[in-house]
Symmetry: C2
Subunit: 465 residues, 2 copies
């Protein structure tokens, strides 16, 4: 029997050192050159050499200013800041690669759907069908107010709005243009058969979009859809729309059980939308620290962690959680915190060593390195073995590989861990399909699967006259 195969994404952001706070100070870290095309082209080529499914690009368009009610720590420690636009680096990488996909974060809260649909279609053409959309509804107050809203839209309303948003973009991507509408036929004197291009006439609670899609269908039409929401509402949204779910296994010592529980809760939701476990890929993030020997790897792990900055890590955690951690004494013990919600968040880290009495500082510093993802430290063989274990026992379909030192984390992974995964027969030795969706769902599956909700949207009848 063929072994269960895993998928791999490189996890990045158009900033200095997004997922390892303080590591910008490491002498090998090249994140400060992220503003150049060279940086991204080289990274994409590394991932394609490693036969990765995709480069996953996260994004925020705000500043982490919950901690101390100030942006000081976020700026000093380059906490996902500066925040350059990730859409604009794709075409350079696409031109320099042939198969690597690009899972690009786009906000269903701050970009009009008509415009976002155009952007992803343009990119799906430029990449020959290698684009994915990581759907976010955005969580930073600073993002909302700078983009012209009075404040953040409440969490559940953001999702209501996102549901309608998805309807609009499905209509544009899947229904506005019939197959064969683009003729490019000089004899018939028609570039486009206008009878096969339909205005979508969408008029809902949040959006009014009457027009036709501005871009002809690309290879995938709808980009591969990813989602990362962990709330009940978020996972319902994912169960309906996502083809890939990005997760974080919060409990550092019990990742497989946590994943299985996540999937157990997801399955009835999938069922509700006529989908099964097989219709969605579950992709947790991991941090890998590889060494020639276990001892070497552990030494490297300690060395890397020594660069983590407490202030910066606290700014990130405060931004993500909405809790201002400057209000706690960093040298007090986690076990003495009286608020359960805060304690349980920090216990993700204390669980990595239950015999140690953890201070808040120590737990937050661990957060600054792992962001809640499991840290796998070891030889290439050990890392490959643990990834297989999470894949089989935790039922994960693949992994987002987080960087601590950019780009050497991913370079080391491609050079040393990928061959081990291939040796185990759990990872491709070459790409089979051409589009991103084919990487995930097999050669020939360029479009949304037949049972996906995106097919079911209908245009108003008047639109078809």
């Amino acid at each position: 029997m063929t072994k269960k195969q895993i998928h791999l994404n490189g996890f990045a952001q158009h900033t200095v050192s997004p997922h390892a706070i303080g590591l910008w100070k490491h002498p090998d870290h090249q994140g400060s050159t992220h503003a150049s095309t060279d940086y991204w082209v080289k990274l994409a080529q590394t991932l394609e050499k490693g036969k990765f499914d995709a480069l996953f690009l996260a994004d925020v368009t705000g500043v982490y200013d919950v901690y101390e009610g100030s942006n000081r720590a976020a700026l000093e420690q380059a906490v996902q800041f500066p925040a350059h636009d990730p859409f604009l680096i794709i075409s350079a990488m696409a031109h320099a690669t042939e198969r690597l996909g690009f899972a690009l974060t786009g906000s269903a809260t701050y970009i009009p759907p008509y415009k976002l649909a155009r952007q992803y279609s343009t990119l799906d053409h430029l990449t020959n069908g290698r684009i994915g959309w990581n759907i976010v509804t955005s969580y930073l107050e600073s993002e909302a107010i700078n983009l012209g809203l009075d404040g953040m839209i409440p969490h559940d309303e953001r999702y209501d709005r996102a549901e309608e948003y998805l309807d609009v973009v499905y209509k544009l991507w899947e229904k506005s243009w019939e197959e064969g509408a683009l003729l490019n036929d000089p004899e018939a004197n028609k570039y486009i058969d206008s009878t096969k291009v339909h205005p979508i006439n969408h008029e809902g609670k949040y959006f009014k979009v009457p027009g036709v899609h501005l871009v002809e269908p690309s290879l995938q039409r709808t980009p591969v859809l990813f989602q990362a929401g962990a709330s009940d509402r978020g996972t319902s949204f994912a169960a309906k729309h996502a083809e890939g779910i990005f997760t974080n296994t919060q409990n550092q010592k019990n990742a497989t059980a946590e994943l299985r529980e996540f999937i157990r809760q997801l399955e009835p939701k999938l069922q509700k939308y006529g989908r099964t476990r097989q219709d969605v890929k579950i992709i947790p993030a991991v941090v890998t620290v590889v060494g020639g020997t276990e001892e070497e790897a552990q030494k490297k792990f300690q060395e890397l962690r020594s660069y983590v900055d407490y202030d910066g890590a606290a700014a990130l955690l405060s931004g993500h959680s909405g809790i201002d951690f400057s209000k706690f004494d960093p040298d007090s013990y986690v076990e003495n915190i009286e608020t359960n919600a805060i304690q349980s968040r920090l216990n993700n880290y204390t669980s990595t060593d239950p015999n140690h009495k953890w201070t808040i500082r120590e737990a937050i510093q661990y957060h600054g390195f792992s962001l809640g993802s499991e840290v796998i430290v070891g030889t290439p063989e050990q890392i490959a073995a643990r990834l297989e274990e999470i894949s089989v026992e935790g039922d994960a379909d693949g992994f987002n590989i987080r960087q601590t030192v950019n780009p050497s984390t991913l370079e080391d992974f491609v050079e040393t861990v990928v061959p081990e995964l291939q040796k185990r027969g759990i990872y491709r030795t070459d790409y089979e399909g051409e589009t991103l969706r084919e990487h995930y769902y097999g050669k020939g599956q360029q479009r949304l699967q037949n049972n996906h909700y995106g097919h079911s949207v209908q245009l108003e009848k008047e639109a078809l006259v």
Copy 2:
């Protein structure tokens, strides 16, 4: 004395055949491959070989549906449609070139200023200072309604709004980050000196943007600013903000007089903002048809024009003018039209041959080829001579070269006309500076000139505390 130098931009759009309607049918036309990175990389390399200042990318995000109250003709003739997003092709071209600039159209009506500022700053970094912004306020009703507005904002209010918009982006680009704010200093444990990054605290009639700019200063800070508005309000806006003005010489036989008159009217407006004629480059568009002999060129001109499609050209002119030209009999004579505004628009073309009795069809077909720009037909020597004539007698600083057959119009120009311009000593043989602003204003001028309004915006005092 050194001869007056000219500047050159290639004029394109992320669509099939934006400026020569019906020419998509020409056997040499490769516009149908515009959705690939190869197409753009090759075009950029051609322009850089020709030492062009920039590739100018126009954009619309709507459909030309005024003609017949329908999008039929626009779709059948690919009239600036499909309309892909031009922001997304820049990085591929930037990576494949070293000096060529990119003048990119962006709407001050439909993108929040906080987001647009981030996009241009990201691109100015990725291109090492080679980005320009062609500021538009957008004119298509279909654009407004699909992007969430109830209808188009009236012309003059669009400009009021654009004035405040520019204030916001100048604050972000020029004032939010002091020089030297980005330290990248491991010893001081500071990537950014947060005391040198200021929230702009903008609160005006149309926009409220409290935050700091998301991107550290790029080489140019503010992209090179272009504008093309021809109305009184439009040229006042240009006189205040633009470093380059794109014009169309409407009268095909009197371009130099028309340009001089345009400049005569512009000068007092420039003065009002403390600027002179030398502070702004005037860049009309031209169509060039080059042949080995004059006869060959004329033959080619007739051959190219034979591809122009009446319906498509009428759809474009109807969209630009807001007049539905389907209401006129195409075979009636222009001189018999009773509405002056319409007649004068068509007289741009009838003036090319006053001895001929023009029908509406003929005039509109000429429009579909030239879009109101002068068509220069001849040998490389003749074209170079005419460009020098327009530059000297019309006081133009350079030209946007329109394509009729993509990309051979620009390839022919670079191969044959550029050497003639260089022979005349009126065009560079190599780039001197590195940034786009230096191409226009000389080595060393990377930032907005000292007397430019953009320097004068001030942050609220509270922002500096």
